[in-house]
Symmetry: C3
Subunit: 478 residues, 3 copies
């Protein structure tokens, strides 16, 4: 038996970072190395192929990186930029656009403000699709560039200590990166600017789906906590729980001083702040990364990373510092995207050592797809936009039973619906056709395949269900 | 004598569908078949050639189709999108732009909101020009895609029964298609949504220039008429007048039930509705094409076509139906445009059987080009725009004598000017220098080469003409 | 010793026309001739190379010319058009953008509204940069096209009589052209439209840096002056001072009648007029160049040039006139830009005869780079924009001592700061730490390397300097 496995990604799409296994990502990185080392020899790899670059939101940097990658492979590019209101405003759904452009081009790169839009394009285009950012949801190639830089500089990601710095609340790059780092077994240090902490749903997904443990520092003595930098929590990878976890605070500081592998700085995403947050002027207390901050022994060999654009959070004096990786990060986007495009178009295949494999098994959840009127509660989700509801059927994963939690398959937003029933009622007496509160014991009792979920009593009743006595009692109370 | 004729379109332009003979269109289709069958072998056909894609109005779909076609041929593309106000707003005429871009590129594709703009570009560019839509005037490659799909699916266009559905009033695709279908000898069924009937000037041109007969159904018994769908009129091609024409209504319905070849659906062009029409909310009564409507035997083998984008007039459930052709229509735009570009650039030539030929002889009209102050009455015509009047001389075809009707050579809009005179006056006495009402017998009496036409009495008098007694009498009446 | 010198421009940037010596420009022209004569053989010259075309201001014509040039060389193009507010509005500096795009592309073409922006991009990109227009500062490839056309039609530029016509106040093309013509030894006739005369700073630079003499005609008898056209001043090249200079007015008219070599027409740059100028409706008295004007013997062989777009200042009737060069000028932009790109990318080198050399030695000025708070006074200068001050250190050339005049190295704008001091104070007693008026004798007394310059007393005092008695006296007076 060979020690190598052949990795083919031909005709696959990259919508979220989870679409690639760890092994596939490693294969991608090794091909990116090849591309990088022999850039000028790739000019015929995708000759005759066409990439459509569809940007419904402005993004000069990302778009040019993709287009450069395609040209370096000898392919051609058709692009539509700032498509916005005018072109599709006639009420057309993006599925039609996807099918038409999919009949022109060999591969599609899409950026769209609606969360889940890239999945819809991938579902309909008939050609490989790369998500170049769909609202606040995902931007997987940015995440790959981040990982690739860490990997290239440190040879591995597993076991590293990666500090995430600044605005950890908004910005898709941070959230994608958190899960990717967890997937590869890195330890994550959360260093948010005040008021811009990682959202709870991210923490929840991290601990329930990726294993590992989270150590919070809210209650820590401020002096200890403030010793090095504004540390808020540490996520400790399951592969090395004994090294960092459950240690007294003091030793954590000690451990950190032994060296942070990377400091990932982000800018305040002012444009996404709520009006309250804008009023609080959170950016005023935003910490600045400069030579002074990085004087500490812990940062002696730290990779200073940033997805760019930067504003004021990262001093220009760092540009000439050998620890600074942000321009390299951007530059490496080209060979990385070359490798990705070549793999998805089937122009390249890669073999990787068999032992490289994901140690995290992706959880399989039951799918909920009934026509019970339930809709994703995320206002930016593609599945609830007027033009898209004509053809998109809502679909969810049941990611938790108590509380009952659905996750939209498009935008991956989770929410807790209120009422449930069983489709099994007809086998019994008619008066068993009742709906229950989602937080009752019925949620676990009804078999997944029989579960019907409602987001309001009206919808349950519209389908002929009657409230259970418990639901009635609750209603009377109000 | 060979049975083949060699078709060369080198250095020609495609401004209106009439720029191509039936034989040339057939040749184009056969080359499109070749392109389609060996897409990957065309990569050197236009190597080194440059297409300029100039879009003064947004149109992602059409533009990307042209650019894809050029790339598939191995050519390059320079493009200017949403040029609009900013770039040319300095008061420059489009002729200058055409000459400059014509000195850069080998072929130009242009979309412009002014009707006739593509002709101006073709007149000045010095390289082949393809009209990708000039206001409400023409969009010939869309029409070619439509015909090509019908031809490919039915092997012929002649004698087919094609139903046009929905908004037959606005939308350049419908009007171009009507004339093209007539040219190829198809029978046309007009099925307008209420209030969106085909304009009279289209009907007039159809019957006077393409022969054939028009059967109207206004007076039909509503039940009979409504039997199948909202049939309004049928145009019967001169090549088969005996099959359909003059039959009792009842047999028409029978004939239709024998099978519609294609149903060409269009969306309501709300953006072009007058404010009155918007008030009437015409789209509320707009018929929807869905599986139910297409259950009738008449539609058993009907090609369901649509130029896209669709909104609500064509149900998504049709997408998986084998009769649905609209995504194929869009996809076929690429090989068709490849063939067109290759022919115009002289990169390909095609031989076609001699017997394929147009059976409709294009009518030749007298040209009117005098400097008598007459201007096209179409407010969207390129020839009357402030920046263009500096160099464009108005020019018209005299398409009718009673009533005297001029057709602008730019936008092809027809109108009836009010006054005429003869340039022959000087040969007689000076008091013969008179102008007459255009609806008087003088219109036929004056030789075409002597005709002077005015749109107002002021202009006639400014040129030294005096009213005839008849004109004076008319004036006094008012 | 060979009579040829090898000219290599590999990895250089073209920010201003002064970045090229006369010899290099001649070499560029001879390569442009080769490109022009064998356009179709250049298709592999830059194969695999990528040009980034970054337009922060709309300019269809210039952009398409560059992109055409790159495609004709077989290279690829990534472009970002109308980048404007949205993309970089997050507060990012252009240096970051330059570094990132410089890591994607092999060469960058940039147009930006800020004066000096192209220099910043060239400083940071790490790849050759071509300035395609930076505000009102420079547009060197336009100037090269102008010179190239003159050279091609007249074989030389030296000693020619070139008349500049119309708006000589605004418009970067005119100012660049003036210096370039002077550099090549042409005589320049200034024929401004009333109120749109060449700015004084241009005249000053012309006479101080390029030698030669300026003959003004303000005081001329209006009839004599108006005889031929609205002549305002003549710049006489130092290479032929005796031919034209110092002649009585009457013989100048005679000399001019012997023939103008080129008439360079410009449009009124209305969009740059001050509100006062707009109120004056200067364009109403703007002279029109037409056949009538060009009937004079002096224009019998004159090249009629225009950078385009034109509005009303150049009659359409001239288009067919053999003297008209403006469409040729535009067309020649392609081979010229091909030559430039090929040279900067190192894909071509050129040998030129040794005797071709610049006869004007560029003046070397002392550089002023201290952190004394002095900022460029040009509001459109890149160096004072909020996002750029974070990393750009102001830098000036001391171009004059009396009055003390600084020229910004970014936008080349000159201004006269008010106060100075010497850094040498500390060697003497502390009470010598005084600042002086810039128009005092101290300006010449202090050694250039010790000079400290302030634009206000506050800044001088903030750095611990005290006013000299002269300054104090001046202050009291106010």
């Amino acid at each position: 038996m060979s020690n190598e496995i052949r990795v083919s990604l031909t005709n696959k799409s990259l919508v979220t970072i989870d679409d690639l296994s760890n092994g596939e990502i490693e294969a991608l990185f090794s091909l990116a190395d090849v591309m990088s080392d022999s850039m000028n020899e790739q000019i015929d790899v995708c000759r005759g192929k066409i990439m459509a670059s569809l940007f419904f939101e402005p993004s000069t940097r990302t778009r040019l990186s993709f287009e450069t990658a395609m040209h370096r492979l000898g392919g051609n590019v058709i692009s539509a930029v700032d498509i916005g209101a005018t072109s599709l405003a006639k009420g057309e759904g993006i599925a039609d656009m996807a099918r038409v452009v999919g009949s022109y081009a060999d591969i599609i790169v899409i950026r769209h403000p609606w969360e889940g839009a890239a999945k819809v394009v991938a579902d309909y285009a008939g050609v490989p699709v790369i998500n170049a950012g769909d609202g606040g949801h995902q931007h997987p190639t940015q995440t790959l560039c981040d990982l690739y830089t860490i990997k290239k500089e440190r040879q591995t990601i597993k076991g590293l200590k990666i500090a995430l710095w600044g605005d950890l609340k908004y910005g898709r790059t941070i959230h994608s990166l958190i899960f990717a780092l967890a997937k590869f077994g890195a330890n994550i240090l959360f260093c948010p600017s005040s008021g811009l902490e990682v959202p709870e749903h991210v923490i929840k997904k991290l601990t329930t789906e990726y294993g590992g443990e989270l150590e919070r520092y809210e209650t820590l003595d401020q002096t200890a906590k403030g010793g090095l930098f504004p540390l808020d929590a540490i996520y400790i990878t399951p592969s090395q729980p004994h090294q960092l976890a459950m240690m007294p605070n003091i030793s954590i500081q000690a451990e950190l001083k032994s060296g942070i592998d990377a400091l990932y700085v982000t800018r305040p995403q002012r444009e996404r702040f709520t009006t309250t947050e804008q009023g609080q002027e959170l950016e005023k207390s935003y910490p600045v990364v400069d030579k002074k901050l990085l004087k500490s022994k812990a940062f002696r060999k730290t990779l200073v990373m940033h997805p760019l654009p930067r504003v004021d959070e990262l001093a220009y004096e760092m540009d000439a510092d050998p620890r600074s990786m942000y321009f390299k990060q951007a530059a490496r986007g080209v060979p990385l995207r070359m490798a990705l495009i070549a793999l998805l178009l089937g122009a390249k295949e890669v073999s990787i050592p068999r032992e490289i494999d994901s140690f995290i098994q992706k959880k399989e959840y039951a799918v909920y797809k009934r026509d019970s009127g339930i809709r994703c509660s995320n206002p930016r989700c593609v599945s609830i936009q007027e033009t898209e509801t004509k053809y998109i059927k809502p679909e969810f994963k049941i990611v938790n039973r108590k509380p009952l939690t659905l996750r939209c398959v498009y935008c991956e937003h989770g929410f807790e619906p209120k009422y449930i029933a069983s489709s099994d009622w007809h086998e019994g007496r008619l008066d068993s056709k009742k709906y229950h509160s989602a937080d009752s014991h019925w949620t676990r009792k009804i078999k997944p395949e029989n579960l019907i979920i409602f987001d309001s009593e009206d919808k349950a009743q519209a389908m002929g269900f009657k409230p259970s006595s418990y639901v009635r009692a609750q209603s009377l109370e109000k």
